[in-house]
């Protein structure tokens, strides 16, 4: 008995929707063993994680606060992956964007708010671009695998933050290892009273919509997709593969950098250690789960934002460790990748087997 993979001739929309939902269900099934291990009832736990937060206005807003940086990192990954550039570096680019945004943000006291926010956006994007540049150049110039280089730069960014916060950037009044606070005008304005929900959400959705438009409606987007799906054919057709890929890599870095800016200017108001907290890697989970579609990224970011927030409150009431959020996220990636095979292939069990 063996498995046989037959390619499906057509992509169906239903399968695009059903498969991610199936992935979520399977993931909850698998992670319930961890919940049982922690001594809680899985049904209660999942109700606390997925439904309880949505019973209050506060819960809805907090879910969106958690989702905001994930929309950005998920979109960043879509940009890179669509062009066949398999960057794992959103985590480091996010951190770099947070560093540059902080450097600018603590100096903007007295600026008019709109101008300060434009400066913050520029600074965050620039940090992400700078962190994305070396691996991208190595890839297009020398063909060095970007998966390895982008991944290895992530802990470097974390260590740079540590170095800064324990050295020159240490808080000048409290002497804690965290930066001076972001100046008032550089903080992203709140959208509603009595809620942390801030301008970052609108920025993130705007970026996502812009990326959707570029990828699906513009000449550049078509070129990028052609290169991502068949680089040789694209080169043969006269497309400039290296240049386009470099552009996608840097755009991806810029968007991930914005996620870092979003955190320091929208929720933390300072640079602190552990700021990235896996949000870059979660972006990969979301983009994969979404099948590299922007609609899927927004949906996936909201789902995982909910999981993140819900498991924090569930851990308080049920005694389940809040790391259950990471377990769910990690598990979801593995299940998603496994189920993605079904999108392209029909799997049959073949009796007997034998050669060929």
């Amino acid at each position: 008995m063996k498995l046989q993979f037959a390619e499906r001739p057509e992509r169906s929309l239903a399968r695009q929707v059903i498969l991610p939902l199936a992935a979520v269900v399977v993931t909850l099934g698998i992670t319930s063993t961890a919940v049982v291990g922690a001594g809680a009832n899985p049904l209660t736990a999942f109700r606390k994680i997925l439904f309880t937060p949505l019973s209050s206005r506060f819960g809805w807003f907090e879910m969106l606060v958690s989702a905001t940086p994930l929309i950005l990192t998920g979109t960043a990954v879509v940009v890179a992956f669509s062009c066949g550039y398999y960057s794992i570096g959103a985590e480091g680019q996010l951190t770099a964007g947070a560093i540059t945004a902080t450097w600018v943000g603590i100096r903007l006291g007295g600026w008019p708010t709109p101008l300060a926010i434009v400066a913050m956006v520029g600074a965050g994007a620039l940090g992400g671009v700078l962190w994305a540049l070396p691996p991208a150049l190595l890839r297009v110039r020398f063909g060095i695998d970007e998966v390895v280089t982008t991944l290895l730069l992530n802990p470097v960014a974390t260590l740079v933050v540590s170095g800064l916060l324990n050295g020159p950037w240490r808080n000048s009044t409290t002497h804690y290892p965290e930066s001076d606070p972001i100046a008032g005008p550089a903080r992203l304005p709140r959208l509603f009273d009595r809620s942390r929900l801030h301008l970052g959400l609108i920025l993130a959705v705007a970026v996502a919509v812009a990326v959707w438009f570029v990828l699906s409606r513009t000449v550049t987007g078509l070129r990028a997709r052609a290169i991502g799906q068949a680089a040789h054919a694209a080169r043969f057709a006269g497309l400039r593969v290296e240049r386009t890929m470099l552009g996608a890599a840097l755009a991806s870095g810029a968007i991930a950098g914005l996620a870092g800016m979003n955190d320091v200017a929208g929720t933390q108001f300072k640079l602190s250690e552990g700021l990235a907290d896996g949000k870059g890697y979660t972006g990969i989970v979301i983009a994969t789960l979404a099948g590299l579609t922007i609609v899927g990224v927004v949906g996936g970011a909201i789902l995982l934002g909910l999981v993140k927030m819900g498991s924090t409150s569930a851990s308080r009431s049920l005694g389940v460790p809040s790391q259950i959020a990471e377990i769910i996220t990690g598990c979801l990636l593995l299940v998603t990748v496994a189920l993605m095979v079904l999108k392209r292939y029909r799997i049959r069990l073949v009796r007997g087997g034998g050669r060929r």
Binding site: V219, A226, R235, F236
Partner: protein
Amino acid sequence: MRPPEADHPPAVRLSGITKRYGGLVANDQVSLHVERGEILGLLGENGAGKSTLMRVLYGLTTPDAGSIEVDGHPVRMSSPAAARRAGIGMVTQHFSLVGPMTVAENVTLGATPRWIDRRALESSVRQAAERVGLPVDPTRRIDDLGVGERQRVEILKALVNDCRVLILDEPTAVLTPVEVVGLFATIRRLTEAGLAVVIISHKLHEIRALCDRVAVLHRGRLVGTSSLSDVDDDELVALMVGGHHSTVPTERTEPPTEQPAAEPAPGKRLAHPERSDTALAVAAVVVEAPGSGGRRVLDRVTIAVGRGEIVGVAGVSGNGQTELVEVLCGMRRVASGSVHVGATNVTNASPAQVIAAGLGRLAEDRHGAIVPELSVAHNLVLERLGQFRRGWRLDETAITRHAERMIEQFAIRAEPHTRLGTLSGGNMQKVLLARMLSGDPVGLVVAQPTRGLDLHATAYIRAQLVAARQRGAGILLVSEDLDELLSVADRLVVLSEGRIAGELAAAQATAETVGAIMAGAA
């Protein structure tokens, strides 16, 4: 040549081997034997079934009928491992060596002991190498070796497995002339020690220089075996290209009655006053194989294609055709020489520049030219996106309209938004043909345009090429299918070992004259 000893069974005897792939009979009742100490040449055109027969012998392919005897004992070759146990060794054109590992490790890879003692391994490989007279240093890494040395390692690998029949599939295709001399000396020495050797080749002079006996395959059938001293080159060429039926002049394909692409307006050509009479030209082009230390895969090749002319490039693939097409397509750099499309110099230009100069291209590997995930419409405009944009945006209306027009003109069975990957090979090729011709090209380079297509699609695509010629395009047509070349080309050049081996007008070309040049006998 030693006389076969009657009391000695042959080293290998193949009886009635038949192998079908769908409707195609790759081997039809082939019976063949090789004596000990004998070198048998297996001669035939591409697709004649040589490789299939040897794959059957080496256990890579299971035959539909027939049997194999080794030293008089029937053997079932169920896998290469079984073949090796029976004493059969094979060196294919693509080596199966592990680059980062040493010679010694590679040679013993097939039979690695549980415990590896590097020293003992190396000294045993060194001894084996000396015994069979193949000088290689067992401590060197495969990545550091040249092609000729790698081939020696492959042969050594077969021999240490106690092989008594060695199959070499086109062993000289990757070698420089000096290395060929060395290889032949090695093979002769090995046969003196009793090894039986089968060499697959389509180069007549090599077979004559090396072999005792020759077997000729044509379209899957064994059409003759003979001692080489009993047969002359003309007879062999006649056997290879299929006997005497092809002396009949081949019918020429007439241009189609319906004009498929838009007929250029009468004044249109005058709009290109810079167009010269030459549509495309390569002059003294030299291409070196990467990492080969200067082995030339194209050696001072000069071809000029006039407007309204189809020049066919004949020859067995692997003799520089692929590289010639890649050079023209802007996908490979030349070491020296020049390339022109019309009056534009496109030497070492990018694909975009080549397209802009007015070259239409139909590549050998059609799957390397399409984006299967994109729609038919998007694939059709991929080369000329600049003409289908409104500012930043794609002009989807114009793209769809263009696709509808192409689908109708070229009878493509698809909708504009069908994913290209779902189309049949013939329809994919029509999409690429439409993309190539819609740019009103000055010159066309077309490689193996009908390979793997059914009769209908084949006829259609040939007719389109003839129609493009009528409209004034100059076409360089590279094909392994001699009938195809004879039916549409005005003139033929024959590429052999990276050089132009001969040139002749289509009127004088017959399967024999072309075949003789191909086989290096002209």
